[in-house]
Symmetry: none
Subunit: 223 residues, 2 copies
């Protein structure tokens, strides 16, 4: 929860609270545990909420509006801007019972493998918290940062890359690897290869340096 | 893993294996644990893989191509249709070290809260497995083919690419461009450069050919 930016935890009739084991596992998220509200039934926990979504591993006798984790997160993030919302998780061993599920507006199901669809409580909390985090970041327009934004160097320009290809071709001729009279698509393949990289300026300088050092170190036929 | 339909687990130098605790926690996913391959280093674990994605909590001294969990899952699912792929997770306490991260083509970062960004290993595995599950279900639902599926050559495997890096380093030393005693991150930069495009077998053969011809054509100091 805390990793994904969620803070408010309500515990319904916990077997043990406070719990030394829980404190130990909370690590740096002790604030969430210490701030937890403890209530005696689900009705009390969700009293002020205008949107309640319950986790369900399997479809029930009465079909209920069913959401994916992504759809749930979108609803949670949108609605929480103006009202209180709750995401309800069941017991580790038995989940939510029918009466509890019927107190929820929607059910959410994590798309697990048919052969083994029962997730640990912690795993289910992680997946739904993560989707809420993604939806919140998307809403704040911070998500989906482009690969380029992490880069430390400017990408090389088209003419810089063209000079590199010219240099590369001269060197490949000089080391008798390339015969411009019988090119066998070699330069096209080099262009396809380096073109995929979207090379940056420092990398281009390194490659040009390598090419220059090859030229300085090759035997001349006139030697 | 098993909940999300993933089966193949490789353990690199586990402290304890088989482990009674792990067996107890595996519950109905004992088949994954019993089928786990145990190896002594990461290189061995990823040897046959043409795409390797490593989990990273923070940005490193040299930025690396960084993916979101969603982008990673899409690459994993697409690529795994024709080649072996690996998702690499680090130690519970310290994650992956720099050397290990540099063996990965991409890094993936889970968009955690800035105040508490360090996820438990199990939480990170859950999020990435879940995204892979979603991407797999989406792919099974669609028929839009990706660029990679049109490729004319097989992608090079991890050990083939490692041999290329070894060869490249020897040549850079031979042309006096590279001093292993004062490496200035040169090999990391080369790995980052070529790691960005998952090179195909023919391209790798061309590059190896160029390196061989450089060796055949350089002046020996004894000349």
């Amino acid at each position: 929860m805390r990793n994904m930016g969620l803070q408010r935890l309500t515990l319904v009739e916990p077997l043990e609270f406070p719990s030394g084991v829980a404190v130990g596992r909370a690590a740096s998220a002790l604030d969430v545990l210490e701030g937890a509200e403890v209530v005696s039934d689900l009705k009390q926990a969700i009293a002020g909420c205008s949107l309640v979504i319950g986790t369900s591993a399997r479809s029930r006798s009465i079909p209920w509006p069913m959401l994916t984790p992504e759809q749930s997160a979108e609803k949670v993030v949108t609605e929480s801007q103006q009202a209180e919302v709750a995401l309800v998780f069941g017991r580790e061993d038995a989940g939510l019972n029918n009466e509890e599920l019927q107190q929820c507006h929607f059910h959410v199901q994590i798309p697990a493998d048919d052969d083994y669809s029962s997730l640990n409580l912690a795993a289910a909390v992680m997946v739904l918290s993560y989707e809420i985090r993604k939806a919140a970041l998307k809403l704040a327009d911070q998500s989906d940062r482009k690969e380029d934004e992490y880069w430390d160097q400017a990408k090389a320009t088209g003419d810089q890359v063209e000079h590199f290809y010219d240099h590369l071709e001269r060197v490949m001729v000089a080391i008798n690897f390339h015969d411009p009279g019988n090119p066998r698509q070699l330069m096209q393949r080099m262009r396809r290869l380096f073109g995929r990289i979207r090379i940056d300026v420092m990398e281009l300088n390194i490659l040009r340096g390598i090419l220059t050092n090859i030229e300085l170190n090759i035997r001349k036929d006139t030697d």
